[in-house]
């Protein structure tokens, strides 16, 4: 019974992930990626990560994907060509082989871990994943990464402005 939400949402996520990879149209691809992100956000919620859920919706779905759409409209690449347009066949083969290796690795890990990864019966507190807890962690154990984040954002801001405003010969 409790498997049902997992299977349903996972199916949605995988379907739209495949759609992103295979669709001919980049804007449709972006929309399907938004659906993947939203279904992962629901997973975050079910896994007790309340604050991360809302950050996923607000930042990923609400901001990052908007930038993707903007750039597509800006560059007019909406109706792009076919997905496998004249790709060298060795690239395709390499991709599929690499994908199989990745999947095999994951399967191997799951099989080897066996019962070990199946259950850690851990109860969580009521405020697990709440903004309070995130704030407490952020301003104690993760203070330095937090401050360094501002440097990352500063660098990104300057880099993007320089690149976008540059006059090309």
């Amino acid at each position: 019974m409790t498997w049902i939400p997992f299977v349903l949402i996972a199916a949605v996520a995988v379907f739209f992930a495949l759609y992103l990879v295979l669709s001919k149209n980049a804007v449709h691809g972006a929309l399907s990626l938004v659906l993947v992100l939203v279904s992962l956000a629901i997973f975050f919620l079910l896994l007790g990560a309340e604050f991360i859920f809302i950050v996923q919706v607000a930042v990923y779905a609400g901001a990052i994907m908007v930038l993707f759409l903007f750039v597509m409209m800006l560059l007019n690449v909406g109706g792009a060509e076919g997905p496998l347009r004249e790709n060298p066949s060795w690239q395709l083969a390499a991709a599929i082989v690499l994908g199989c290796v990745l999947l095999f690795e994951a399967a191997l890990h799951i099989a080897r871990a066996g019962e070990g990864v199946r259950h850690f019966p851990q109860a969580i507190a009521a405020d697990f994943g709440s903004p309070e807890r995130i704030g407490q962690l952020l301003f104690s154990s993760y203070l330095l990464p937090f401050e360094i984040t501002s440097l990352v954002l500063l660098a990104a801001m300057i880099g993007a402005v320089v690149l976008a405003l540059r006059r090309f010969p």
């Binding site: 995988v14 990879v21 996923q56 990923y60 993707f68 750039v71 995130i134």
Partner: protein, 105 residues
């Protein structure tokens, strides 16, 4: 309705691996740089899912903090990456990764 008690951790691992693989294959077979970029986002999100799941199954919140930072870095990366695409486009009026050989420096 507790998803945690019914779904074993390996299911999350499998789902995350599958999404990551789809992203990786997409990154390799597509040539439109914007779609490739979106495939990278997909891979990052597969990683995020695993981090959040393990945070729940170990009842330690650190995984969620990592996800928070991953999202921050992803935002910065998207801003700069798309700026590069826009800059190349403005210069070359055509974007196809196989023709960006002058990027090799």
């Amino acid at each position: 309705m507790d998803i945690y008690s019914a779904v074993p951790f390996s299911a999350w691992l499998a789902l995350s691996g599958l999404l990551f693989t789809i992203g990786a294959i997409g990154f390799l077979i597509r040539r439109d740089p914007i779609v490739m970029f979106m495939c990278i986002e997909l891979m990052l999100n597969a990683g995020n899912l695993l981090l959040v799941a393990s945070a729940r199954y170990r009842a330690v919140m650190d995984g969620q903090i990592y996800v928070f930072f991953v999202m921050t870095v992803a935002a910065a990366e998207v801003a700069v990456g798309l700026a590069i695409i826009v800059a190349i486009f403005r210069q070359r009026l055509d974007i196809d990764v196989d023709e960006m050989s002058e990027m090799r420096g």
